[in-house]
Symmetry: C2
Subunit: 493 residues, 2 copies
């Protein structure tokens, strides 16, 4: 085998002497990880022929394979193509306490675009921004993200390809594309450096490892993983648990003003309502079918006060849809599989296929409403969430999904009337409980949080519609009308 030039090779004996301790430490790390409140995301990327596959296989051999899963991203499946690009990464994320290894990571896929022209380069840069955001989300949530880049010089890469070719057992691994890469080394090195710069962030730094000598490379990767794990575990232990806030201060009073300015005294007679309702239900049916014909999906988000009539509004809405095309996802307590993932994971998993509809009855906005007010997450978490939520929605709308968001607004008096009515009506008693009364006592705090949500997450592509809901008929009609209009506008673009 050709010798790497200018690089010290680690003697086999020395290597073998150091491996057992490293393996032991890795397995101990896995044992500790099982009870740690975070997942480990390990990306092994690098130049062609730098031995990414070998490193990934080696780590799998050293680790207990029962606590780790390895992913490589090739051609997306049709189920993946019908969703926003990041969906396939979200579905491969490890839960807390587990580890996933990504051979090439999402980065290899970005580099595979091999951009040349200015628009291609602009797409590439935008894609990198999205990847950096994705890693930022995960690391802010506590994930340990370890990314190594295995680097080979042009000469070392050529030597490695020659060596692989000269061995009949490995010759099949060298493809014409590999030689093309080697000839085009400088440009590709620039692209991967641009990629690393764009995705090198405090919680998700790149660690470049010289891959010329495989033994040195192997030890370096394993050693780096261990170092990062220990530091992360220690840092996480120092974190105080989240606590309920002392007082709720508006971040953006404009939102609260908008909410309070909403007139709630609308009226609509039964006769008027029925006449108009059927017209708008028909239009909605046509609008949703037109969207489906174009492969456009629709996501409805319903938020609002307890007893504001979300369920009823959803029923009127779905009566215009074909039952085979929609799903209603009620958001209550997360399941335990959801609890061990990032808070957005449970929403990503229900993103509809092309031409289908998902209706969320309560949504990701729980992060800046109930989680903010009850102290289920830290102040930094919910403050950061406004940007996370708008980015999530931007990914949906960027993929052509139409996102309709409704806040059903109620006066405090009307809520009281409805609570009492529920308590007094036999078949509605299951709809009211102590928690509803507790939330009601925090009305002013919720108002502030809703105001901030409106001010900070209202976007042209995914606007908030405030619906006066003291009058149920008015609210339902308003939702039908607004939905038709937004869908029609989206299809005209």
């Amino acid at each position: 085998m050709a010798k790497a030039t200018g690089v010290q090779r680690l003697p086999k004996k020395e290597y073998e002497a150091r491996v057992p301790a490293l393996r032991g430490a890795l397995v101990q790390m896995q044992v500790a990880l099982q009870h740690a409140p975070f997942p480990v995301i390990l990306v092994v990327a690098g130049d062609e022929a730098s031995g990414k596959g070998d490193v990934v296989n080696l780590l799998n051999a050293w680790l207990d394979p029962r606590g780790v899963e390895t992913f490589a991203f090739h051609e997306p499946t049709d189920e993946e193509r019908e969703r926003p690009p990041m969906w396939r990464y979200w579905r491969c994320l490890p839960p807390r306490g587990r580890m996933a290894i990504y051979a090439g990571g999402w980065h290899a896929e970005a580099l595979r675009a091999d951009p040349h022209s200015p628009p291609e380069l602009a797409d590439f840069a935008e894609n990198l921004r999205r990847l950096a955001h994705f890693e930022g989300l995960l690391s802010a949530d506590g994930a340990l993200i370890v990314k190594v880049w295995l680097q080979l010089s042009k000469t070392a890469q050529r030597d490695r390809l020659l060596a692989l070719e000269s061995d009949p057992d490995t010759a099949w691994r060298v493809t014409p594309a590999d030689w093309q890469h080697n000839r085009d080394y400088e440009r590709r090195a620039r692209l991967s450096e641009q990629m690393r710069r764009a995705t090198h962030k405090p919680g998700a730094p790149w660690h470049v490892i010289d891959a010329t000598d495989p033994r040195t490379r192997n030890l370096a990767v394993a050693g780096y993983v261990l170092t990062r794990f220990r530091a992360h575990l220690a840092a996480r232990k120092k974190l105080a648990p989240p606590a309920p806030p002392r007082r709720i201060v508006p971040l953006r009073p404009a939102g609260l003003r908008r909410l309070l300015a909403l007139p709630l005294d609308q009226s609509l007679s039964e006769i008027d309502y029925e006449a108009k309702r059927d017209k708008w239900l028909g239009r909605l049916n046509q609008a949703v079918r037109a969207a489906a014909d174009r492969g456009r999906s629709i996501v409805w988000v319903f938020e609002g006060w307890d007893a504001a009539g979300k369920g009823g509004a959803i029923r009127r809405l779905t009566s215009a849809l074909d039952a085979r095309d929609f799903r209603v996802i009620p958001i209550a307590k997360p399941t335990d599989e959801e609890k061990v993932h990032h808070y957005l994971w449970r929403f990503w998993r229900h993103i509809p296929r092309a031409g289908r509809v998902t209706i969320y009855d309560r949504s990701w906005y729980g992060r800046v409403l109930v989680e903010r007010l009850e102290g289920f997450c830290r102040e930094a978490d919910w403050k950061r969430a406004y940007a996370e939520l708008t980015d999530f929605e931007a990914q949906l709308t960027g993929h052509g999904i139409i996102v309709l968001k409704f806040w059903l607004h109620l006066s405090k008096e009307e809520q009281l009337r409805r609570f009492r009515h529920r308590e007094e009506t036999d078949y509605k008693q299951h709809k009211i409980n102590a928690e509803d009364w507790r939330n009601r006592r925090k009305w002013a705090a919720y108002e502030t949080a809703v105001g901030d949500m409106l001010a900070l997450t209202d976007r042209p592509a995914a606007p908030w519609h405030l619906v006066p809901a003291d009058n149920k008929r008015f609210a339902r009609l308003e939702i039908l009308k607004t939905s038709c209009k937004q869908i029609a506008a989206a299809l005209e673009e």
Copy 2:
């Protein structure tokens, strides 16, 4: 609109007078269902133009859409095509406490094959058998399965098609295929009757409803759902909870004899082992790659005594595989999402894609081992399970998946040695706990259960390999060899 001949039509007024009570009862049913220990599976199938879609939409309008989901099966996605046919139905099953409506059900898909030739008819019959088995599984697990067949006479069907065509709003719904169906009515009626006969079982009966008059049809469907639900709820309440068995009696002593006859005194020197191991690891690598090239997936199942060395065996095995192609699924306590589904659901969800590998560290055999012995399920449940498990595996092997099953056998003395060693060794202490000691005290009972498992689930296409595991090296080599041989044999077929 053309009048149906010879059928009494329900006057609109009478219909509208009866609907509110029915709707109220349906919503009450959903409230009761939320706390019921079973799911509701509602299949709405029927002749062409009998109004299946209308009925499904109507039920969705009457029910609270937040507790029900509707599915229709069209072209499978590529992720579905790469798995056995039933996989796509398993992934759409509702959890306990929820309801799913299937427009056409799996039955419509079976009928879509439209068999003519004798081999096609044989495939059709085989497919029906599989569907009946699937429904039998679910109903034996407690699911309420309601299946309605909406029936139209040939004349009524023709009238309905003419009526649809004459209305510009619905004309698009009539396709040339619909008319073809009507001309071919008698043959198709015979096929659907064959289908209903083959899938009409005690826990999953067909209920045929005359669909000539839509209003009568709607009331009949809703009324039947309610009747079945109430009866099911009442019957389930009478069921006693499962209890631990008093004594364990072998069902098939031949299995226990086979187990006890296994010689455990093998020896294999370190040197011999290392020489042979590398040869067999190389062969295994080639065998797995050859399987992948043909799109064949592999499923490994590891069962065995506590401390029998399953983890170590899996590590040796995976060291021969590419980490990007396999997953190891450790089977411990089910997650809460798994707990609310059929016990096989958690295994179905990890069935590999074409050419990939899943390694189960413990498996579905827990049903006839720990669940039998600890009384986690009823006697009828684990007794039925032998057939359920072999059928599950037959579906895998029928799809071309290679299924390798290993029982790692240990002497009681060797287990004791290993337990003690674990307790004494710092970094192995996490591998031993009180439960291991408890299980050990039930050694004889477990032996009996293992014997029955061996006798009742050993099949030519998915045989049990008994591995003497007192000597770890011997066991690991044996697993490598046996795996290579079975994979090679499967590829030669």
